[in-house]
Amino acid sequence: MYEVNAPDIIFEYMDCNLIVIDGVEGLYYASGGTGAEVFRALEAGYGEDEICAALKNAGAGFDADRAVRQFIRQLVDYRILREAPGRKAPGDFPPFPADGMDQPPAITRFDDLQELLLIDPIHQVDVGEGWPFVK
């Protein structure tokens, strides 16, 4: 089991996207689709096996076991999650949404948040992706 490395890590879901801020290191992470949903399950207290099983049930078109393990390792390496051995799952695993789960979970890291904040969020960014994705 894992938990979010609070209070250093602050995260938020915006629609189906996930934004994670490491306030201590000044890092910005973004994830969407499968990544955001897997993270939601991990921070709720579900374990690796339950998540993998749920992904397979949802008909994931990728190797769920391998992808989830890799994703979790990445989140731990980034100090977004930490291990929480005593934590228990809150109940039955809710099904993943039917759409948007065709790609393996991934998270994009931006190294200098302060520099990102210098990007003009109206004129310099990609209209579809939004800040901090530059045109």
């Binding site: 609070a6 209070p7 250093d8 602050i10 938020e12 915006m14 629609d15 934004i19 801020i21 306030g23 201590v24 000044g26 910005y28 948040l113 302060q114 990102l116 904040l117 969020p121 109206i122 004129h123 960014v125 209209v127 579809g128 939004g130 800040w131 901090p132």
Partner: protein
């Protein structure tokens, strides 16, 4: 000619145009909000929105998302939401260690303004953009709190304690190496300082936990009062016509909509703190967005005590005991006697030739008293103080009519203590122009004639 409210003294801004539409869209529920958004979206050139509008985009985005709005502007609004979330998250991460240290030392923290809105309603971090975190600590904890902030890597924005006292006697602005702002307040309002000035607010405060740290947030009435008085300051004091922060209107509306407000308590608190005019102006602005938010009768109960509540530094005094209303202060001569007022130099504000009277304020530490001692009044300053007291009495005893030129002249004289007679006379025309809210001098005669005509018509009608 710009919009002229039914009473004024320094009021040069009311939300209008696109600002008003955005505020209406965010604040007003249901169909009215949606219609305002559609009108705004049809009129706005999104590439040209000003900073005040940008900061309102997260709230607008979340409101419209909840209404399943599919405007083409939604992705662009979402982009600003992500931007302000990241900015706020960085800010919160930066100030949390100081908050934790304050808490560990047993220093209570009372959140104000943006961070208070976030903590009070457990809002998403990006919903309420902030430039700094405003945290009130008790007077007695001020010195220790400042030390803790410094130990946490923050530095004061002002180079010396003396300059801080001149420019911001009620608080100390800090920033750290990442330029994260922390505004430690020792009094919640610039307009009302002194020992125990916020005791009632502390008593009514509610407990919350923010980032794992126990904190207090103001009770609903104190929160709205605080938002209004802080919110209108730029417009009232610095005559700013294009304020860059309108978020206080949304915060106050959220607070009013969330529960029952004891309006009488709020009015009494404003009177006690001598900020009833400021509150009145703030509430009128909120009514402009949604008249249903503030009962009309509330505005009538608030005293128009602008001359004493206006955050003109000359009105900043160091009452250390009971706080009195403007009228009481005049009648018992407290404006003159018994107050140690140290004339401390010219302010760097737009207000111009005003002087800051920084007396025995919040008795932070010994060095503040030492400062006050250093600044004894010169004979010239004493004369000026006597003259101001006479003017204050005259002003307080007369009706502030729009065409009461004698009254206007006194106010103008009061505000320009160091001008010679000629310069004061020349400046009077500018003062009239500003106080009547006309754009050019050429409009002054026309404005006077129209008001005279209005007055005569009213008199004939009676």
């Amino acid at each position: 000619m710009i919009e002229i409210p039914d009473y004024r003294q320094g009021m040069l801004y009311f939300p209008a145009g696109l600002h008003k539409l955005v505020l209406t869209a965010v604040v007003c529920p249901g169909e009215k909000g949606l219609r305002a958004f559609e009108e705004w979206a049809a009129k706005v050139d999104y590439d040209l929105i000003d900073y005040a509008t940008q900061t309102m985009m997260p709230a607008l985005y979340q409101k419209m998302s909840a209404l399943s709005c599919d405007s083409p502007l939604m992705p662009r609004m979402k982009s600003l939401n992500s931007y302000f979330f990241a900015k706020n998250a960085l800010l919160v991460s930066g100030v949390t260690p100081v908050m934790r240290a304050l808490s560990a030392e047993g220093i209570d923290m009372l959140f104000m303004k943006g961070i208070a809105a976030l903590a009070r309603f457990n809002l998403s971090l990006g919903l309420r953009p902030m430039s700094d975190a405003d945290i009130l600590v008790r007077n007695r904890d001020a010195a220790r709190a400042m030390e803790i902030a410094v130990a946490g890597g923050f530095r004061s924005k002002r180079p010396t304690e003396e300059i801080r006292l001149l420019e911001s006697p009620h608080s100390c602005d800090f920033f750290n190496e990442r330029n994260i702002g922390l505004d430690l307040h020792f009094c919640s309002l610039f307009e009302h300082t002194g020992r125990g000035c916020d005791e009632d607010a502390w008593r009514r405060a509610e407990r919350r936990v923010f980032q794992g740290v126990p904190v207090f947030v103001m009770g609903a009435e104190d929160h709205v009062l605080n938002l209004c008085v802080n919110g209108v300051r730029d417009m009232l004091v610095f005559h700013q016509k294009n304020p860059h922060n309108l978020l206080w209107i949304i915060d106050a509306a959220r607070e009013i909509q969330s529960g029952k407000i004891d309006w009488q308590l709020m009015a009494e608190t404003a009177e006690e703190k001598m900020v009833s005019y400021n509150l009145l102006y703030g509430l009128k602005i909120i009514r402009k967005i949604d008249p249903g938010l503030v009962p009309e009768g509330v505005c009538r109960t608030l005293t128009d005590n602008i001359l004493f509540s206006e955050c003109h530094p000359a009105h900043y005094s160091g009452d250390r005991g009971e706080q009195k209303s403007a009228g009481a202060r005049i009648s018992d001569g407290l404006t003159l006697a018994g107050e140690t007022r140290a004339l401390a130099g010219e302010t760097r504000t737009l207000a111009g030739e005003t002087h800051v009277l920084a007396g025995e304020t919040h008795a932070l530490v010994g060095r503040l008293f030492a400062l006050a001692d250093k600044q004894a009044l010169s004979p010239r300053d004493k004369k000026l103080q006597r003259r101001n007291a006479v003017l204050e009495q005259k002003i307080a005893l007369h009706r502030p009519g729009l065409l009461n030129l004698k009254y206007k002249w006194w106010v103008h004289t009061y505000r320009s203590p160091h001008l010679c007679a000629l310069m004061r006379a020349v400046g009077f025309l500018r003062f009239l122009r500003n106080s009547w809210g006309v754009v050019s001098y050429a409009q002054v005669p026309g404005y006077v004639l129209s008001r005279l005509k209005e007055k005569i018509t009213k008199r004939e009608g009676r």
